[in-house]
Every structure is written in C-alpha cells, then in structure tokens.
Symmetry: C2
Subunit: 135 residues, 2 copies
C-alpha cells in the first residue's frame, strides 16, 4: 500500500509501530499510552477517533469498542524526532453524564500509581466498576 | 545487581527499557518522551532529577547535562500495565528567568508538529536558538 507522505514521515520502529500519548484536551491530563501502526494512525485521522494497535491481540483496536470509552481526537501531534505521537482528545463515555474514564480499571487516567517512598501506591479513585464497563 | 521491589515491579521491555512521558507540573503540558533503564529510573528517584537512557548514545543521559535544561522531578507515576512511566516535572533552564524549554530545538515541548490537513506543521515558537543552548 502507498501511504501518504505524512504517514511516511513518521519514524516507525522495527515492529512498524509508533508510541502514542493520549492527553485530555480540557484538563491536559495524560490519560493513557498505547501504540499505532500506519493503518491505525491513518484511521485515527480519518475518523477523528483514536484507533490503536493492540500488541497483545495483534489487531487494530478502536478505543471504546468494548468499553464504550471512545476518544474524540482534536489534534494529532508529532515530536521533534518524528517518532512519538501525541493526541489531544475528549474522553467519551457510555452516556454524556459519564465521568471521563480512559483506563480499563475504571479510573480517569492509566497513570494512577504513584511512587511513595519505595512503593507504588494507587492514588486515584475508581470511578466505575470495570464489571459495569465490560458487560 | 539486586534492584528494589519497586524497580522490579516495572515491566521492562526486551531491551530493558521503559517508555517515559515528562509532563510539566504547572501547566500539565507534555514536554517530551524518552526511555529509562533500571539505573536511570533509580537515579531519577534518588536525585529527583530526570535521568534517561539515550538509545542513540547507549548511555545514561542526565537531562540538561549539555543543554542546561534539567528537569526537577516532583512525582513518578506508573500506568495500569506497569509498563509506562509518567514524570511530573519542573522544567529548569540556564537561569531562573529562562522560559520553560524541554526540546533540543529550543521549543517548550517536543510535540510542536501538528497534523493540518495532510501535512505536519510546526505550530510552536522557538524560544531560544539551539546554538545558544548548546554552546
């Protein structure tokens, strides 16, 4: 397949992937981190919805396909070395009243473990029981 | 070497590295992305200064050692899969009056290229000429 120049401008790693940071536009919070391949990045730009590459399942993963927690994409950014992507997103939920939940644990952000002394402590609340997310 | 439990709790990749996002504490801006090995993470926690692993130079890289743009570390966070680290930092400069410059191009953040239509556009200003940073 012939990819457009802007896709080819990304420095894809040896697995054909690029690391991706998803940041919430309203709060600037870092929500999660994942990977994309060329197809995932192309689809993300096309749909304005975050589409990642699941390394564990080895397939495209439309964020929210199982959880309902899709991500509306407002901006796609690339770093100075062309090898990391940053998305500015709105974290969507099951319904408009849902709090912003990006993590499969039911938390706002995946980065809820904080180093305190010499131990990782969970410091962010679970907003929704994962059993209610993945029905 | 016997690493402490909190270091061993990180899921290190096949190269013994973990991806790291550096986020500015005051603004929540994502400044940069890099990697750490076990020693870099241990030193970061010990010094409360960001120490990365330079993949290109294959050695520890104390952020700011060449540029003067060191990073004071306030929090070290780990994601839900234990395989990505997030630092909350204050970006330091040559002197207290320096603007916050994390990128080697002299910009605030490394993520200054934005996808507009089908092209990456530089949308953030150069705050300091790199020739003045790397003297």
């Amino acid at each position: 397949m012939n990819w457009p120049d802007w896709i080819s401008a990304v420095k894809w790693d040896r697995d054909g992937l690029v690391p991706v940071i998803a940041q919430e536009r309203s709060s600037n919070d870092v929500l999660m981190f994942a990977y994309m391949n060329r197809e995932a990045l192309a689809k993300t730009a096309e749909l304005q919805r975050a589409v990642y590459w699941s390394r564990s399942r080895q397939r495209l993963w439309v964020k929210g396909e199982a959880s309902g927690h899709a991500q509306q994409v407002h901006e796609i950014r690339l770093d100075c070395d062309n090898d990391v992507v940053l998305l500015k997103v709105t974290q969507l939920g099951h319904d408009p009243a849902d709090p912003s939940i990006a993590c499969h644990t039911g938390r706002h952000s995946c980065f809820f473990q904080k180093l305190e002394g010499d131990a990782w402590q969970s410091v962010e609340p679970v907003l929704l029981d994962p059993q209610r997310i993945y029905k």
